[in-house]
Subunit: 253 residues, 2 copies
């Protein structure tokens, strides 16, 4: 059902889109501070306890999502970026459950680059087309279960890059407590070659809190820095969510 | 006068040290979030209007600095890092006016890596020994004059790396206003191959302000992001000073 004939025209694959916005800066992880356009897809196979984008996860928000084909999505990216090549960040929900290969190919033809952020629960052969793959397996506080073999396969797909471009793969783990920290260490042990980004969680996500607790978030970040350093885990990188510090829980910035 | 015989022992070169502290995370630039030990040297050939570390610049603070030889400095780095190799960040003042080559060589022998942050006003052949070189030429608001030929030479020295290790060079410019922004663009035009990091300035540096103005700093950061994006300068990276957000103007963290 991925290709249908309609009005004598071959339609490209349909992508569930929660929002397309930017350019703004990437607020977290390896590409922190880089100008980017976000494509947030709709739908997720996870239900993290502290999800900060439930509007892109829960089926009851489906009416707010748009079904767009590759060309429509790319036209919007071009419009927002003023037709100037930029980094496109594919996030969600879980963007790995969407047919994004065509979009990446089309964007590359126009000089755009692509990063994806996914939990690694769905491995796609087209990860090989990406420029950046951030895998963020979810720690115990999320109440989700990590399927390690799928994480393995995600990395395997990504490293068989079909382009002559270098793909950068990294891990990012959101940490709320000691148990999450131990989980992060075990992930790093499993994949010692991959750069690891640790991120203090936002315990006041939208839809679950009235107001964002910036000083509480900074305190957790401080704890995470001290914890990592006390452990002599000097290979890790500890970062906040910049957009949360700058703009709180506001969407579309 | 760099090698003197004293008590039958060859002394290594003397380094003026304002402070050695850490491990903490690097709060800015390309290595943001990375655990590091800072060696802040004493003395600077500049007098930036908004300098946030005058205690490591002005001769009247000289009594607070320590004259240490390479071995003493490295012993302190090892003590702080618990003898575990870590990134060492050489900052100042202007660390480029100190004899740091021996320290870098000694550290490398023990698995430590070295980053330097300098304005590029003094080019040293030993830049070739570094792992990371951040050049932060100072914009008009600093009231300093950029000596372009010295910046050129700094890059030249760094790119003739004497080790088999890759050196990463980047530019970082602190921006307070429109004129500074234009300066940053001109620097990027001169060195198009180098990654450019833009940083919103702290208009409430220690010694010049009673209290740090976090919301003012975040507003300037927001302005800088919008300015960069409106200009479609998508290759730049815009970052705050994390340590300022986390710990204000506090020293030694
Ligand atoms: S994987 Fe991400 S989008 Fe999905 S529920 Fe968890 S936090 Fe939300
Ligand atoms: S170059 Fe750096 S240390 Fe020297 S005066 Fe300027 S801001 Fe201060």
């Amino acid at each position: 059902m991925t290709q249908t004939i309609e009005n004598n025209r071959v339609r490209t694959k349909t992508i569930q889109v929660s929002e397309i916005f930017g350019p703004t800066i990437q607020g977290e992880g390896a590409l922190i501070g880089k100008p980017t356009v976000f494509v947030r897809t709709g739908g997720c196979d996870y239900r993290c306890a502290w999800c900060d984008s439930l509007y892109a996860v829960l089926p009851e928000h489906k009416a707010e999502w748009a079904s767009m084909d590759t060309r429509q999505v790319f036209a919007e990216i071009q419009r927002l970026s003023n037709n100037t090549p930029i980094l496109v960040t594919l996030s969600g929900g879980n963007p790995a459950i969407q047919p994004l290969e065509e979009l990446i190919d089309l964007g590359h033809q126009h000089g755009y680059t692509f990063a994806i952020e996914t939990q690694g629960s769905v491995a796609q052969p087209w990860f090989s087309s990406l420029d950046y793959l951030t895998l963020s397996p979810k720690p115990p506080s999320s109440k989700q279960v990590t399927r390690w073999e799928r994480l393995d396969r995600s990395i395997l797909y990504a490293t068989t890059n079909k382009y002559d471009r270098e793909i950068q793969i990294c891990l990012k783990i959101v940490i709320f407590n000691e148990e999450d920290y131990a989980y992060a260490r075990s992930v790093a042990e499993r994949y010692p070659a991959l750069p690891m980004y640790l991120q203090a969680g936002n315990h006041t996500p939208p839809q679950q809190a009235q107001e964002i607790d910036i000083s509480g978030i900074l305190d957790r970040m401080d704890w995470l820095i001290q914890r990592t350093i006390a452990d002599r885990w000097y290979e890790a990188t500890v970062l906040p969510q910049l957009h949360t510090l700058l703009w709180g829980n506001k969407r579309g910035v």
